[in-house]
């Protein structure tokens, strides 16, 4: 993917740049907000990674201006530790996701993948499918190998999120934010507990589809 990273901290920029290159993304780094806005608007990018605090023009205004000009490139905000208002203001300005610094690179990579492959227009998908697991979003039911699987509302949302990102790594934090609306780190293993319940329900009639990526998260995919 072609990624524009707008980050003024040299070390963070190098760290992210290095990691993204290794993952095979073409990345450009800009350190100034105004120049970042110019580059973001004048070229085609798959993803913009924007720091909140930038010289020249802050990240919020940058994204706000971009959105005002009709640029719909997905934006991942990087925000400083402890800013509890940052998430909401970032999303309000037109950001698609946010990540609190410092972060593990695997977390950033997972989010970049999720954003990059997100369909540009919300596709009117009504059935999600992974191997013999089928989810009907309209009827709100799940079938494994043709057999109905009864899920609780939260389990349904969890499975839906995994299936929408089938084949991708979905981190624990992504699940907490999107399935539980938890914007803080709980001290108990909520995700693990619910995943294990979900597994026991959908694996009754087939092989394991939800794979644990050690230390990173989960991924749902058809067996090779």
């Amino acid at each position: 993917m072609k990624i524009l990273l707008i980050e003024d901290n040299r070390e963070t920029a190098d760290y992210v740049f290095q990691g993204l290159q290794e993952k095979g993304h073409t990345t450009s780094v800009i350190q100034d907000g105004r120049e970042g806005l110019f580059r973001a608007a004048s070229e085609n990018w798959d993803i913009l990674i924007v720091d909140r605090l930038l010289p020249g023009l802050d990240g919020l205004s940058l994204v706000h201006t971009l959105r005002g000009g009709g640029v719909k490139t997905p934006v991942l905000f990087l925000t400083a530790l402890g800013g509890i208002d940052d998430r909401v203001s970032g999303l309000d300005a037109g950001g698609d996701d946010y990540l609190i610094k410092p972060f593990a690179f695997s977390e950033l990579a997972a989010r970049v993948n999720a954003l990059g492959r997100r369909p540009r227009q919300t596709a009117a998908e009504t059935v999600l499918k992974v191997a013999d697991l089928e989810m009907d979003l309209l009827a709100r039911n799940v079938r494994r190998a043709g057999v109905d699987v009864v899920l609780q509302p939260r389990e349904f949302r969890l499975l839906e999120y995994l299936m929408r990102h089938a084949g991708q790594l979905v981190t624990r934090t992504m699940l907490l934010e999107n399935v539980w609306d938890f914007h803080f780190d709980p001290r108990t293993n909520i995700v693990e507990s619910h995943i294990s319940r979900l597994r026991s329900k959908i694996n009754k009639h087939g092989v394991e589809l939800i794979h644990t990526i050690r230390g990173s998260g989960y991924s749902i995919r058809a067996p090779a």
Binding site: I84, I100, R154, H183, F184, P186, R187, T188, N189, I190
Partner: protein, 454 residues
């Protein structure tokens, strides 16, 4: 107290303004009195002399000059308060008790100021008000009265006015000073206290008089503000020393571990990776503590209050109960909930979410398997109450208040994960929402109640 300060007080200036307005109205009133009194007296004199002139003319038996001379002289000798003059057209005096004058017709005032007033006039030389006329043969006839009374009245009115003006101004100044002095003293006391506080005497407060007047109100508001600032500052001071203290141990351990890793060299890659993983974990937990501290500080600053909106507490609590039921069951605990539907509060959804998540997590992680955790949301007489109770070991009464302090951890829970900030954060969120949070004995176990005011 220096006098110039007094003149600069607003109440004194106000008094001066009132004194000015009062003096002006006095001036107007006096003008009206003066004008009407003097006017009345003048008209009386004018009427009297005019009548005397007519009476005198009608007293003559024929139109001869000699007859008029006789009558004028007779009148002049008979009524000493009047003054008469008859002179021919050349200005020679013919009769009366006045020296000759320039013949002017109608109402006139004569006066002989200077060194040699004509003899026999006395006081009247200063002013005679009268009426002059020319009769048929061309002679000039004048009848007048001394206007000494008029002048006396004028002088006395002037004096009365002057004295009352002086008295008014003096009284206004004294009154203004008296009125301003009290407030000025109170304001001085307040600014003295502020200066003391600025100079570092942070415990200083403004004394109240106890009269409940506006200055007492102001002083008590200021004192309350100072209390709040001091509490925040103490909190901050406590917080920074707590943070420093709490982070010293993990940072020391981290340093030791990194040093060991360095001495390991590159031969033992597996061990090296394990050390790195553990170090990253340590750093994450330190960052976690920092994040929580910053979050608490932000919550305590109260700025989130501006973003309050209506939150469906029932839905929020029910959602959390559902979320944590799976976690509790995995630990061999049972989680039951009894949530009255449709109970709203004004608040910050995200923070309330974290508040109740923290409380439920505390119950789950500090209690052993086999216990029951009960979550209850109901509307009581005092507002909306959320109760989270467990049948675990509970908290000894002596420790119940302390657990809300930052980094405070019971000896029994040192081993379990957490940074000792969960309940501090819960308390900060509750306070932001004006909710009370209390711990009670569930016998056995602990019951935490968060009560939102109605």
């Amino acid at each position: 107290m220096r006098l110039p300060r007094l003149f600069h007080t607003s109440s004194f200036r106000l008094t001066l303004l009132y004194a000015g307005i009062f003096s002006l109205s006095m001036l107007l009133l006096f003008g009206a009195v003066y004008w009407s009194t003097i006017g009345l007296m003048s008209r009386q004199i004018d009427g009297t002399v005019h009548n005397e002139l007519i009476e005198l003319q009608s007293a003559t038996r024929d139109d001869s000059r000699a007859e008029l001379q006789r009558v004028v002289n007779e009148y002049a000798s008979r009524s000493p308060s009047f003054f008469y003059l008859l002179q021919d057209s050349n200005g020679r005096p013919l009769a009366g008790n006045l020296p000759p004058v320039k013949p002017e017709l109608g109402l006139r005032v004569m006066s002989w100021s200077g060194q040699n007033p004509p003899p026999g006039l006395g006081n009247a030389a200063k002013g005679i008000r009268g009426y002059g006329t020319v009769i048929a043969n061309g002679d000039y006839l004048f009848v007048g009265l001394s206007n000494v009374q008029l002048r006396r009245m004028r002088t006395s009115l002037d004096r009365v006015f002057l004295w009352s003006l002086i008295a008014t101004l003096v009284l206004a100044l004294l009154g203004g000073a008296a009125v301003s002095l009290g407030p000025l003293r109170r304001v001085e006391a307040i600014s003295r206290a502020s200066r003391d506080i600025m100079d570092g005497d942070l415990g200083r407060r403004i004394a109240l008089r106890g009269s409940g007047d506006e200055f007492d109100h102001l002083a008590s508001s200021l004192n309350a503000m100072l209390d709040r600032i001091q509490a925040l500052m103490n909190g901050l001071r406590q917080m920074s020393s707590d943070v420093a203290h709490d982070l010293r141990t993990p940072l020391t351990l981290l340093r030791q571990r990194l040093e060991t890793a360095r001495s390991l060299g590159t031969n033992n890659v597996a061990t090296l990776h394990a050390v790195f993983d553990k170090s990253i974990q340590d750093v994450d937990s330190i960052l976690d503590t920092f994040g929580a501290v910053l979050r608490i500080a932000q919550i305590e600053s109260g700025s989130r209050k501006a973003k309050f909106s209506r939150v469906d507490l029932s839905e929020l609590v029910e959602g959390l109960a559902e979320t944590y039921r799976a976690v509790a069951e995995e630990k061999g605990q049972r989680l039951v909930s009894d949530v009255e539907p449709g109970l709203p509060v004004e608040g910050d959804r995200e923070l309330l979410h974290q508040l109740f998540a923290n409380l439920i997590e505390n119950a789950i992680s500090h209690a052993p398997p086999g216990i029951i955790i009960a979550i209850r949301l109901s509307r009581g007489v005092n507002g909306i109450e959320v109760g989270i109770s467990d049948t675990g070991p509970g908290i000894p009464e002596a420790h119940r208040e302390k657990v809300f302090q930052r980094f405070y951890r019971l000896e029994t829970s040192r081993a379990s994960p957490g940074n000792g900030l969960g309940l501090s954060l819960a308390a900060a969120v509750a306070e932001l929402h004006a909710a009370s949070i209390s711990l009670a004995d569930n016998s056995p176990g602990l019951r935490v109640t968060v009560a939102f005011p109605a």
